[in-house]
Symmetry: C2
Subunit: 250 residues, 2 copies
């Protein structure tokens, strides 16, 4: 019922790509996805999208740009829980449940689709496979939080950095924004520090070390894997929870 024909572009959004990697979705399913996330909103850098304690009933899907979710400590320091890249959900939990326990703000200018609780639930009812796919994505996000936990608890700064950048690469490839050789990445060393539980100074030293060892280069907004296999080895990176070969559900 849309004016314009359903272009391949619409059906090939980052979200559609990601979901398709895990659950085989029909063209009709994909059309529901693109209809659901048609309403776009723009956010500037640093403009809070979701605030701790808020009880909105809306969530977002990132169409373009990067964001991060974090918690502020009384001391003024913060811990970044996760970064969001195109195709990722923001505030899915606060839609399904009650309040948000963290903040989300853009790192770059962001375009995001807004979706209400009602629309989401009715889309789920209409296309159950979509519900499965979305819940899968939510589950994967939780697995990544656990992986970050292991990072902080039991990996050295260098291993942490390697593991993090590998994981990010795998996520980006899933939505067509990265290759095995590397990807472009707008994260500053300060943001990396807040995510990895390090000081910005040490982030810099770690990156230098990795570069001098010929493992990876992160300069001018681009991550280049100079020796992918060595990195995987160093970080004990287990692709299992990210790199599925094809759709799990056919």
């Amino acid at each position: 019922m849309t004016m314009q024909p359903a272009t391949p572009t619409v059906l090939d959004s980052p979200l559609a790509r990601k979901l398709s990697a895990f659950v085989r979705l029909s063209t009709d399913d994909l059309r529901v996805v693109s209809d659901l996330f048609r309403r776009r909103r723009n956010f500037g850098i640093g403009v809070e999208m979701i605030h701790q304690g808020q009880t909105d009933q809306t969530a977002f899907v990132l169409a373009s740009g990067w964001a991060c979710s974090y918690k502020i400590l009384p001391g003024g320091t913060r811990q970044i829980v996760d970064f969001q890249v195109p195709g990722d959900f923001l505030g899915l939990r606060s839609v399904l449940f009650r309040t948000s326990d963290h903040n989300v703000e853009p790192i770059t200018p962001v375009q995001a689709s807004e979706v209400t609780q009602r629309d989401l639930l009715s889309a789920f009812a209409e296309t159950p496979r979509l519900a499965t796919a979305v819940l899968w994505a939510a589950s994967r996000d939780e697995a990544m939080v656990v992986e970050r936990l292991v990072d902080l608890g039991r990996r050295s700064a260098t291993e942490r950095m390697a593991h993090f950048l590998l994981e990010l690469g795998a996520r980006l490839r899933l939505v067509g924004m990265g290759e095995r050789s590397g990807y472009s990445c707008p994260l500053s060393q300060y943001l990396l520090a807040d995510a990895l539980g390090l000081s910005a100074v040490h982030v810099n030293r770690v990156l230098r070390e990795l570069r001098e060892e010929g493992m990876l280069t992160f300069q001018k907004g681009r991550v280049t894997f100079d020796d992918y296999d060595a990195l995987v080895e160093l970080a004990a990176f287990d692709r299992a929870y990210l790199d599925h070969e094809g759709p799990l559900l056919t």
Copy 2:
């Protein structure tokens, strides 16, 4: 339709207590809960209940005893992601989704109710309020993982310990196993170390320090809060995500 009358004991399980704290459940709802989790199994210390990569379609609810979920790193070290106390779910995610990405094993002898995917989903269909309550519990668990992430990333060893023991106390009170003054706790210093990302030696020093400062005492399997308010202050403990006054949904 049970032979024996519904005793208060059955309806007052740790799980029923916890769920009731967040969603008002009718006696009928509670009966569904107790029916659902009637089938009990016993596990000895160290006997794996859930194994990384397994694709069982069963989950458990702890009836008595303590367990922990963890990931093993290639180096042989491990990171404990969370402890489970009576009333907590084990492997809820692997029921709703596909595979488990971590291991779960008992710390003390454990009695747990087994529940299959089928039974759980049909119970949800029968009593929607139960589904809400369970999803709430799952969401709370995820919030705790995030809190642990903040622990590891941005809190000192002392703050971490204080925050962790306060959180554990709040969880136990929810199921009637602790008071404001303290609680009994079977965790060894080695387990604490694996959970908090510290060495066992340092755990010992931190506990001594907290004891000498008159904040808390952890000896002979019992945690005693010597100065609760000072601890809350030290750890920047925010009860919000745990300590709800009454049922959220009435």
